[in-house]
């Protein structure tokens, strides 16, 4: 399953904050390809992740879905290794693979027995430059992608509501466009669009290769150099940086569908990101965890335990983004409640909770958990590659990642409260309601 990023991000944000001494070693080839190695010889297995530092963010207007379309086509084969040779080879050695596209990045990964390292490095290098596509490939894959859009969005009212909220919240940039693309625009993507996109962007200077597991940096460097050095760099991606205007209206969107048996209230805020400030973002993240994370948050205590209005309520901050980050809130009422009533209740409570509920004790607890989670983030070989790859492609540095916990240590109650106060004054949000 070659997946789109929306869901992935939701899952990712619960675990990707882990940081830590991966003792990652790094080098950059002359053509601009960055290589990162995390040595971990515990089992004779390697995870390879190829991260391209672009996703749907570089699509021209009218060509939504192109980056994701390209990701699907990257599996089709090359001159030297035609007809899904790469996937077939991987399965023969007992490997596994997948890929995903997000707003800000596109990534491909494989997990495989380490004795096949050289061949896998060769195959990944080969498809950066030598993909061969036919018009027929492109047309059939377009049908697959339309089925994917129908599976993820058109048959899923909750996803349609999210899509709609984002278009209003991000009216002027790519975060308002679905990664998978609008149906009518996917239908019009052509063979030439795909080939141009590939030639322009799939280049070593837009890529970060991460190898994690049973591998030595020295050997990795030698092999990566061997297979990538002949690939010429090309232009760096051009990111047309656009900002969104402040929203002047309060917007409530509603989706009514007869299949919906459970009302769900949601809200998304446009916020800062780790690119703006790592320390402030960690403080905001910790604050959000106290306020709305999991089943011991202030919101949960008030509305699930005490008032019994919702069966679940929560929210989280996701700021590993090149542009704006966002905060996502949701509430699941036990009985039907009007959208505006839920909004009012939560708004009032949040202001009060920030004043009275954010305590030193709670912060210590969340910091502990944050720290322990970073240790769990090291148990495995793919996770370190995911964490490093995501952070680097959105613009953070390897030092930022390795020193993350120093920044965590700096966070105090005042900083958390400051971030939450700022958040409570944020008017850039859109509220949604899913109902029968």
């Amino acid at each position: 399953m070659k997946i789109v990023g929306i869901l992935f991000i939701l899952l990712f944000c619960f675990e990707s904050k882990s940081n830590i001494n991966f003792n990652a070693k790094s080098t950059t080839l002359e053509n601009g390809l960055r290589l990162i190695v995390v040595e971990n010889p515990r089992a004779p297995v390697v995870a390879q992740m190829m991260w391209y530092n672009f996703g749907s963010n570089i699509e021209q207007r009218g060509k939504s879905g192109l980056a994701h379309f390209m990701e699907h086509l990257m599996f089709k084969g090359t001159k030297k290794f035609p007809n899904s040779y790469y996937s077939d080879y991987l399965s023969k050695i007992g490997g596994s693979e997948n890929a995903f596209t997000s707003y800000d990045y596109t990534a491909y990964y494989q997990i495989f027995p380490s004795q096949h390292l050289e061949k896998i490095i060769e195959l990944e290098a080969d498809r950066m430059n030598n993909l061969t596509l036919t018009k027929k490939n492109v047309e059939i894959e377009k049908k697959v992608i339309l089925e994917e859009r129908f599976q993820r969005i058109e048959s899923n009212p909750s996803a349609q509501l999210d899509e709609s909220i984002r278009t209003v919240l991000f009216p002027n940039d790519y975060y308002g466009r679905p990664i998978i693309g609008w149906k009518h625009e996917i239908e019009n993507l052509s063979y030439d669009d795909v080939i141009d996109f590939y030639k322009e962007n799939y280049n070593p200077n837009n890529a970060i290769l991460i190898l994690s597991g049973d591998i030595k940096f020295k050997n990795a460097k030698k092999l990566v150099n061997k297979y990538y050095k002949s690939i010429k760099p090309s232009q760096k991606i051009k990111l047309n940086k656009l900002d969104n205007p402040d929203l002047k209206t309060s917007t409530n969107v509603e989706l009514s569908n007869e299949n919906v048996k459970q009302q769900i209230w949601k809200r998304i805020y446009r916020t800062k990101s780790y690119n703006d400030s790592i320390t402030q973002s960690i403080a905001l993240d910790l604050g959000m965890k106290i306020l709305a994370g999991g089943t011991s948050s202030l919101l949960y205590e008030e509305f699930v335990n005490k008032k019994k209005i919702f069966s679940m309520v929560g929210g989280f901050f996701q700021g590993l983004t090149k542009g704006n980050g966002y905060i996502y809130f949701y509430a699941i009422p036990n009985k039907k409640v009007e959208q505006f009533e839920i909004s009012d209740m939560l708004d009032n409570f949040i202001v009060q909770a920030i004043d009275e509920g954010i305590s030193e004790e709670k912060l210590i607890l969340e910091k502990k958990k944050y720290y322990f989670d970073s240790i769990y983030g090291m148990d495995g070989i793919l996770k370190p590659a995911e964490i490093i790859g995501e952070a680097l492609t959105i613009g953070l540095s390897l030092d930022d990642i390795e020193n993350w916990n120093d920044k965590l240590d700096e966070i105090n109650l005042e900083m958390v409260k400051k971030e939450l106060k700022e958040f409570s004054k944020n008017r850039n949000f859109v509220t949604g309601n899913l109902k029968n």
Binding site: I20, N21, N23, E39, N40, R42, A43, P44, V45, S84, S87, D88, S91, K92, I93, G94, G95, S96, E97, I111, F112, P113, I140, E141, K143, V144, E147, F150, Q151, E154, S155, N156, G213, E258, N259, V260, K261, Q262, I264, S296, E301, V304, K308, S311, M312, I332, N334, L365, E366, K368, Y371, F372, D373, I375, Y376, M378, D379, G380, L382, N405
Partner: protein, 429 residues
């Protein structure tokens, strides 16, 4: 994380060197263990036979409700206090009810092992089952049932179970229904807890940074007080699996289709042959015949798959896809044809060789985290695959030749035995 020094050990360099210890606690609880010092974490994977298959009559969902309440407080700690303690110690604890068992995972940062295992003991042996907590979790389960009913693929999966397994206990929804949840009382939960968590239905796998003496002590502490009840929670054979097709209307632009077919129990000597056949048919990611012919060549679906569900005494093959309403029957025809082709012509030598290479090569992926190692140790015991399974496995795979696999395929696979559950608004041909 500058406080932690990593000592990577080369313990799994080759398969023959994969050594686990079969340990026994003072009161006689056996478990399998791998000491892995590469990371300061201990992971415990455990399983109790039973699960939703032993739900109380007319009170479906009791097992799921019971397991959902196990992190909601103990005799000494309220729900909130318990959750805070978990955070304080970097502890993870989760239970999930399956059709045939309750699976559990416990993880703890090594330095916090003492407090962590004690919290684990309290949660497993002395959950509070407070009325307030029960009512809250009931409301949550009911919401989640309603969300499932609104979701095309989950609804299709529940409808499939209901109609495919017929009067077998597996036709029930693990979560139960709004009605059945409301009937469950505190006494039901207390009794079900006692009946589920018994020593003779328990298997445990452990991996991580802890020594033998300590882990024996902790496992004894957590599980030592459980009783034996000598009841057999084995799953009955599937005597009346449905064939043909069934339809449920839902107004959506795509239909979700699930299909089922008889399979084999995990312990059957032909299991691996069936596993290889399924890998070639619909199991192997981007390689399977279903993927190549239905997605890659025709573009009818985004995802199509089949997998084996194998239990102690029986098993099934289950598959699925979603497609636009206009192509539902065309895709079903394609699935039937693949089934027919497999039954008539079997697999080729190169398909067999590739599949064998896959299963031999993929096994080491289990050794990449403490949790995946613990799970592997647990699963091998659960299905009674044998203490020598890690050595035997490669021999079983390598002993399969084309004649044998194709013989088994023609014996087991038949498109006449297929059942299709269609949910959506398919257009008639």
């Amino acid at each position: 994380m500058r406080f932690i020094f990593l000592f990577f050990l080369l313990i799994f360099k080759n398969l023959d060197a994969f050594e686990y210890k079969n340990l026994k606690t003072n009161s006689g609880i056996e478990f399998w263990f791998v000491e892995d010092k590469s990371i300061p974490i201990v992971s415990v994977s455990f399983s109790f036979r039973g699960g939703s298959s032993i739900d109380i009559k007319d009170k479906n969902g009791v097992s799921n409700l019971m397991t959902s309440l196990l992190d909601e407080g103990t005799r000494n700690l309220t729900s909130k206090q318990f959750k805070n303690e978990m955070k304080m110690n970097g502890m993870k604890l989760s239970f999930s009810t399956q059709k045939d068992k309750i699976d559990g995972v416990f993880q703890i940062i090594s330095a916090q092992a003492k407090d962590g295992f004690d919290l684990f003991y309290e949660a497993l042996n002395h959950p509070s089952f407070n009325e307030v907590d029960i009512n809250r979790v009931k409301r949550q389960v009911i919401s989640s049932i309603k969300i499932d009913e609104s979701d095309l693929s989950t609804l299709a999966s529940n409808k499939f179970n209901q109609h495919f397994f017929n009067d077998h206990v597996f036709s029930n929804n693990i979560k139960g229904s709004e009605e059945s949840i409301k009937k469950i009382t505190r006494t039901d939960l207390v009794n079900f807890h006692k009946r589920s968590f018994v020593k003779n239905n328990l298997v445990i796998g452990v991996a991580g940074n802890i020594n033998v003496n300590k882990i024996k002590k902790y496992i004894e502490h957590v599980f030592g007080e459980l009783k034996d009840n000598q009841q057999n929670y084995s799953i009955k054979q599937f005597k009346a699996l449905s064939v043909g097709q069934k339809f449920f209307e839902m107004k959506t632009p795509q239909s979700s289709v699930l299909f089922g077919h008889p399979g084999l129990e995990r312990n059957n000597e032909n299991f691996f042959a069936l596993r290889i056949a399924n890998y070639i048919l619909g199991g192997g990611g981007f390689q399977s015949r279903l993927y190549k012919n239905v997605r890659e060549k025709k573009g009818l679906v985004y995802s199509i798959y089949s997998y084996l569900l194998s239990y102690e005494n029986d098993g099934v093959i289950v598959g699925g896809f979603q497609t636009r309403n206009k192509s539902v029957f065309e895709t079903i025809e394609n699935v039937k044809n693949e089934w027919k082709k497999l039954n008539k012509r079997g697999i080729t030598k190169s398909e067999l060789d590739n599949a064998k290479a896959y299963f031999n090569g993929s096994f080491t992926r289990n050794f990449t985290s403490t949790l995946s190692i613990a799970r592997l140790l647990q699963v091998v015991q659960y299905y009674e695959l044998g203490a020598d399974y890690f050595i035997k496995r490669e021999k079983i795979i390598n002993s399969l030749n084309l004649e044998k696999v194709n013989g088994i395929i023609s014996e087991y696979f038949s498109n006449e035995k297929l059942f299709f559950m269609i949910v959506g608004e398919p257009e008639k041909k």
